[in-house]
Structure formats: structure tokens, C-alpha cells
Symmetry: C2
Subunit: 377 residues, 2 copies
Amino acid sequence: MTGFAFDILSTDKAARRGRVTTAHGTFETPAFMATATAATVKGMLPDAVRAAGAELAIANTYHLMLRPTAERVARLGGLHAFMDWPGPIVTDSGGFQVMSLAKLRVIDERKGAVFRSHLDGSLHELSPERSMQIQHLLDSDIAMCFDECTPHPATPEQAAVSMRMSMRWAERCKTAFKPREGYALFGINQGSTYPHLRLESAAALAALELDGYGIGGLAVGEGQEVMFATLDETVPALKASIPRYLMGVGRPDDIVGAVRRGVDMFDCVMPTRSGRTGQAFTRRGTVNIRNARHLDDRRALDSECGCLACTRYSRAYLHHLFRGEEMLGPMLLTAHNMQYYQDLMRGLRGAIEQGKLDDFAAAFHEAQGRGDVEAGI
Amino acid sequence: MTGFAFDILSTDKAARRGRVTTAHGTFETPAFMATATAATVKGMLPDAVRAAGAELAIANTYHLMLRPTAERVARLGGLHAFMDWPGPIVTDSGGFQVMSLAKLRVIDERKGAVFRSHLDGSLHELSPERSMQIQHLLDSDIAMCFDECTPHPATPEQAAVSMRMSMRWAERCKTAFKPREGYALFGINQGSTYPHLRLESAAALAALELDGYGIGGLAVGEGQEVMFATLDETVPALKASIPRYLMGVGRPDDIVGAVRRGVDMFDCVMPTRSGRTGQAFTRRGTVNIRNARHLDDRRALDSECGCLACTRYSRAYLHHLFRGEEMLGPMLLTAHNMQYYQDLMRGLRGAIEQGKLDDFAAAFHEAQGRGDVEAGI
């Protein structure tokens, strides 16, 4: 019983252009997911998210188990109906958020994480088995194994202990996961920045015959160079036939570099979170629309972008909205950043199809370096 | 030179079904304006505002003179281009906001209002002439005369002094207003709740040959009964051939009552502001979506409404969004309330056309009284 499929349509060196089939439809890879942590893409209607080109959303076990609870989402028909996202949904397992958000957490190999909610201090447990149950209740198309996100920096010894526990948890997740047609379980490769641990983790996951790989524990402060070096060691050790998902990454140049190294899927709060604070990603680099230099700026945010913020409004208007703390400011910049990221992914997919990813990457870096101020007002 | 026109298409007793033509297109009356105080309808894209049925937006002299300034809006091509609203725009004159928002204000008949900005304490003057200039710079289709909003309660003496100054200011506005094809200047009827003052004000405005009437100084705490009684005395004294705009009104039942009394235009922050705090207007009365009774509520907010909030989501989901302070909650409830108000206006217009406004009003009140909780979960 599977129905879940990953078809590689073309390759360009290590990079892959693919298509993933799930119980709730397909998505093209390399893919950037729409972040819908609490069952909503912050500041955007689902129709607009889809119109920007996103086909895959990611929601979060930790957030949804606390509110509105997984059982309630299940009673209300599952996450797809609840949030009006009929397409494929990934759910993160909650491991990362337990470490970054929960209070007074205790990690116990048998029980998993015992922690207090950051919302109301209530006590909760999240084990590999419970994480699988929650992701099942949410009706996630792609469930992630429950893991411990190894802190950075970690000594090789600390990283080994943490990774090996996550691998034993992955085995428990595999046992607890209920196979259903079109639903998938991804393992999460760990091992900090140590190649030998990453390879050990890759071997452990390969033995479990999972449907895809998360690559976890990166973009946690190690820097892009170390992240890319870790990918250079890790990715070749992963089975080529299943998708690779670099979790929590990243900036546009992180994504371009990771796609060139064979990564297929990405998620990151950056486009939506930055949008809410007035930071826009453009083809010439980032723009802070709150900056007073935009007071009388008649230009579009990004003249090559087709989003509403860029086709209907001046930078002066967007600046006005942020100065006045008007909701439409975050709404428009979120929509723009979503469009920018999806355009980037579309560009990467097209470049792989044409075998021109190197040229695409060179043009991308050249344009980013050109900067915004010089763009000829 | 006019081009501005008000055509009465049909009547039902005192109520009128009309069409107003401006330099930026037409709108059907009775009309409820989309509130765009600071050149944005809070939480809604203009396309969605139009799709809900709103044809007319109202922006504000006081807010826009402070930020981004009228001169800047003019340099950027005027309000229609600035905020992507190609349709008709009304601008309030700033008189009301000087009274309700500005600090350390001094009213001087010659100078107008001298006040400090509520944003940064900077000193400003707003005279009848300057208000006209600002509304011209904004490129408002319908400018409002600069007036003093008489406080409530006021003695007959206080109300008379205030109203007579506003009438002298209206004369100065008429002199300062630059006539342009399709652009209009409305006077504002004042006089508190005193019929003889309302009639004196009506006569003063009639002599000025303005393009429409605002009815000001109501919905300031006098209660619906007194407001309707004041309308009963005032409206018959207004010229029938030009539009009547009841400023800052109101709740759905206020609007139904005022339309029956011959009012043509309305504006109120209530649908958008209430939407942001979780209050929804429905055909069975108001619903507070934050209430815990909606935790597992699978029903639509209003089963007869065609907006996205009602057709795509359960109350349980909307409740979840508000509990989590997610932007999508205010966005969806604002869109719903906008749709509700525009549907109400459409219903009123249709009822007048058919000569069935009494029946419409009776059915409206009956449904509102039915309440929401009993609506058969």
C-alpha cells in the first residue's frame, strides 16, 4: 500500500526536477512549502497562496496539539477541510518546537518530551508514538518522524548521543505510523555538522525504508558555508529515489545552493515573517520598506514581479502602510514574498529541466549583488 | 460645469433608490461606503472590497494631512492611484477627527482648528480653505465642508453657536472649492437634536447650492430613537434632488431606519472595526466568534452569506484564528462584515425598486430578533 510517489523528471548534475504524488494531489519539486504553522498561512488567504504557486503547506504538530488539539481537528474533518487547503500537507513532528518554545521540558528516551505549553503552562507529553497519532489525526499527507533537534554547537559526543536517540525514535515512529494509500512518513537525518554522524544517520534511516528524508539540525547558526559543506557530505549518502527535505531553510541563496546539491523540498518562516515586518525579497536583494528613502518612491517593489503589491502599488504606498501599522502592509508584503519564493522555485525547476542550473545560479547571484538603491529611480 | 449627478430611479414613500455619477464612475444608492480612513480599508484588498459590492470609499482629511500629507498623495498621482481605488471617493473634511483625536485643539472661527497631531504632537492648522485644498490635492470626488462637530449633549444655545459657525464655514468652503467636472461639494447639516436648528441649517445650506448634504452630529450618543426623530424633522427640509449622507452611521438597524426616512448614503467603521475584534454581523444578529461556544461549531458564520468566511470555513476555524491572534481571523471577519453590509444595501435597493421596503424592514427585524444560538446546531 503506497500511492505516495516521487518521480524524477530530469536532473542537472546533483539537482533534481521531480513530482511528488500524495493522497491530496501532487506538487512539483524543488518545492518551497507555504508555512501554515497553526493551520493558517499568516496574513494570506489560501486562494492567494495557491495563486502564488505554492502547492504544499506545512503545519505543526506542537502548535496544533496545544490549540485547537489534534482530536478537535479530526472531529472537524481534518486539517485540509479545517484550513481550506485541499492540497498536500506536511506536518512537522513537534520535536523542534518542543526545544525552541516549550517551557520546563524534559527529554526522556522512553516517554519522549515532557513539557509545559508556552501558551498556558499546561503539562504535555509528546512521544514518537503520540506524534504519529497526532499527525494521523491531523490527516497529514507527509508525517515527519519525531526527533530531537540537536542544539548547535554540540560536541561530536553530544551530537552522536542525540542523533542515535532520534534514530531509535524513528524506528518507533515507523512502527506506530499507519500506512495509508498516498500518505508518507519521512525520517529526519541528524548528526550536527559531523559527516561521520550524518552518514551513520543516513544508514539508519535507509534501513527503515521510509518515504523521504528530512535533513534536520541545519540552519541553526552554523552558517551557510558549514551548512553547504554538511550537505555536500550528507546528500550523496541518501537514497536517490526518495525526496530530500532541508528543514527550516532558508534564504533565497541558501535554497539555490541546496537545490544544486540535490535537495528537493524546503520550508522557512522567512518570507512570511519578514513580510510582516516590512522586509521584502526582490530580484535585486532585500528591501526594507520601512526605510524613509521610500517616502516618495514611485517604483514597484520589484518591477519583474507579478504580485499585487508590485503591480498595483508604489513603494511609497507600501511605506505609508507600514508607517501607519496598517494590516494591508503585512498582507501585501507577505503576498509578495510568497510570490518571490515561488517564482524562484519555478525558475530553479525550469533551469534544471533545461540543464542550465549553473547559468541560473550565476544570474541569480549577479542580480542579487546589483543591489536595490542603484536601480535607477 | 458639473457632470456630478444624482438620478432618483424609484422611490418607496420617503425612501429613494438612486444613482450618483462622479468623475470616477457611478455608485448605486442607498450606498454604504468602504471605510478607507488612511487610504486603506483595514485588512482587505481593494479587489475584495469591490467584489463584496462596495462602489464608494471614504478617506479622511485629518489622517491623510498628517501622514503621508496631501501634497505627497498629490505628487504620487492622487488617492485613486495611491490606494488602487479607481472608483468614487468621498473625503471627510477633518472636522470630526480634530475634535475626537487631535490634542490641545483650539477652535477659532477665522483660523479654523489649531491642534497638535495625535501621532507626533506637531502643530497644524485646518481652516475651511485648507480643508478644501487638501481634499482637492487628494483628488476626492466628493469633498465635505469643514465643520465643527457639535458635542453631545449641547444646550440649544451651544448648538446654535456651533451650527452657525459651521454654516459660515460652509460658505467659505463653497468659495474655496474648485469646481471640476464630476466633482462635488457636500454641506453638512448640524443643529444637534433641535429641530429648529436643523431647519435653520438646512436653509443655510440650500442657499449655498451645494451638491449634496451630509447630516452630521448624529450617532454621537443620543440614541437611535432621538436620531430617528431628528431625521424625521430634518430630512423633509432638505432638497429632494441631491443626495443625503448620514455621517458615521451605523448599525444595520440604524441604516434600515434611516433609508426609510430618505437617507441615501452611509459610512461607519463598525463593520471593519468589529470584524477585527471578532464581532460578526449576521442575518440573525451579531455573533462574537471569540465565545467558547464556537470551539466545536461546524456551522457557517451566516449560512445565507456568500463570503469566503462563510462558504469556506466553520465557526470553529474562525474561533481558532481569533484565539491564536492569527491575522486571517480579522481578515475573514472584516470581509464577512463588508459583505453583510453590502448585501443589506443591495436588499434595501431592491425593496425600494419593488415598493416593498416595509416588508423588507419587517423581515429584517424578525430575522435579527430570532437570534443565533437557537439556529439549530
